[in-house]
Assembly symmetry: C2
Homo-oligomer: 340 residues x 2
């Protein structure tokens, strides 16, 4: 199934996060150290869980973006590391809580917090990262920074709520889907870019371009994520497959596939989706995937991501050339073509 969703050839050279974030690799290591030290003089149980969670090194995409932007803008201070860690902590908090909601056992090829520590302790661990992410920026000179982070966290939470509300709603429109993933995912990418600008100090034009970059990169990221849930290889994605279908979540490939179905076929699809969620029914998963494939839904979904990535690329090109800008451009390709 994999890779059948695009008629475009995958670029033969595709830099990964290590190469993309090379200009800020030293700072990224500080971000990781900062996150591990955050519980401070806390309970041993919290220290242990936080350390295990942070050491499961993610791709650190959001901190990487922030540091590339402050790097591009010539920022010389140290607050970028703290802010990058705060952004990653919000991301971690929402991942930990999402995995409880989705009952996901694997992420990044490793056990999720909920699988490792159980739902109760990981619920509290997510709470800790939410609170700490805001708290850690309270001492910054710019009082708007914690406000921006808190407003973004609230948006993410609302996006998650709306997504849950729309479970099993086969009348979900592409516009509404995009609004939801904007809140749930893209808002943090966009805020990350804005925070980089605030710290680096830049003109209105460049900030607008970077906010546009973050928004569209974030949207493309989530569209591809939703595609990978259906067509990715668990061995590559490191995640449990079909978790969206299992939770009755209506994502873009399904919306696209549904578009030209007759009412009777839609009702049948809804029944199958409910059966998957109730009984984990493998046959229903296969039949749903076949329908999506036949209707060209994977290809059309990828094209949507391609268009969003194009907008992100366009926005980044408005910046003056620099090695950091080069990395921001490479990141667009990575987000689009990644297998995990």
């Amino acid at each position: 199934m994999a890779r059948e969703y695009s008629t475009l050839p995958r670029p033969s050279v595709l830099p990964g996060p290590a190469e993309i974030f090379a200009p800020v690799s030293r700072k990224l290591r500080s971000v990781n150290r900062a996150l591990r030290s955050w519980p401070g003089r806390a309970s041993p149980v919290l220290l242990r869980m936080a350390r295990q969670t942070v050491s499961k090194q993610g791709k650190l995409i959001r901190p990487g973006i922030l540091l590339l932007i402050t790097g591009h803008l010539g920022y010389k201070g140290k607050n970028d590391t703290i802010l990058a860690a705060a952004v990653e902590a919000i991301h971690l908090a929402s991942l930990i809580h999402d995995d409880i909601i989705d009952r996901s056992a694997y992420r990044r090829g490793e056990k999720t917090a909920v699988e490792r520590f159980g739902p109760n302790l990981s619920l509290l661990l997510g709470d800790f990262f939410f609170i700490r992410s805001i708290a850690r920026t309270l001492c910054s000179e710019d009082p708007e920074i914690p406000q921006m982070l808190a407003a973004t966290a609230q948006k993410m939470i609302e996006g998650e709520m709306e997504e849950l509300e729309e479970s099993f709603n086969l009348n979900l429109t592409p516009d509404r889907y995009l609004k939801i993933i904007e809140k749930k995912t893209a808002s943090l990418f966009q805020t990350t870019c804005r925070l980089g600008c605030r710290l680096g100090g830049t003109g209105r034009k460049e900030e607008t371009a970077l906010a546009e970059y973050g928004l569209n990169l974030g949207l493309a990221f989530q569209v591809i994520d939703d595609l990978l849930d259906l067509v990715g290889q668990p061995a590559e994605t490191g995640k449990t497959a079909f978790s969206d279908l299992r939770e009755g979540r209506v994502t873009l490939p399904l919306i696209v596939a549904l578009k030209h179905q007759e009412p009777a076929a839609r009702r049948e699809l809804k029944r199958r989706l409910e059966r998957i969620s109730r009984d984990q029914d493998r046959a229903s998963i296969s039949s749903l995937l076949a329908i999506m494939k036949r209707s060209g839904a994977f290809r059309l979904t990828f094209e949507q991501a391609l268009a969003l990535a194009g907008k992100a690329r366009q926005a980044a090109l408005a910046l003056k050339p620099s090695p950091h800008r080069q990395s921001l451009l490479q990141l667009v390709d990575f987000v689009l073509w990644r297998k995990k």
Copy 2:
């Protein structure tokens, strides 16, 4: 079973929250209005849940304490309402998440958020209240206020984690139990008092007294809560009974009862506790309650609460007399003798 835990007569006149908080009743109504309006221009799903949660009027003890203190200190501004709402929001967030952890269906005589909205949406609702409680105080002139709230929220989360860690640990000492409930419950009472002092502006001596008041009142509150879980009448408490036993939580009455048991009896008690948690075994609950009653554990636990309440009363008496101080003193009796 009820009321058998004290040889002292219950005071014949016992003012309830409405009378105790009469000097600040107008402000308390603003707190409730503020909380209901907090989601702002948010998703309808969040607005609906927040409104339903806040309208389930709790006792508003923490906001009431803060307002009594600012009233006592002659504070004339409006920030006390916002701060009182922030304190209540942290409390709400932790209640919502606790009820998910404890699988509690009833609280305050009404369905809990988890029962009403399911575990997923209520997890996110708790996240919202945590984030919003800090965010709402970011614009205050005193930058230490959001820091105090965030540090307290972190403490509460750690207390909950430690409590979970100690489940089924029949070697839990009274000291460790007190340390845990200090983090979990008393820290927010104490911070509430400190925040009132900061806003009202007061000398070091008075602030120390009020911090002492909050700490001991909070400890007494939790000890009584743990007692009511075992001897309270669900019709009065409005909560599901024996939720601590069902979750294997070792609270003071059990610790006290265990103190003089032989090793063999302790092992038998542990097996019973595990059976209660696994099978909701009614016979094991009855037998555990009988052992606690025989050993005088309820009476001794109440005496511990009585001693803590005495310290709170002593601390409040260090303030100059005022109608607000009178309310703070009445509150001590209410916390001690309440049936819910």
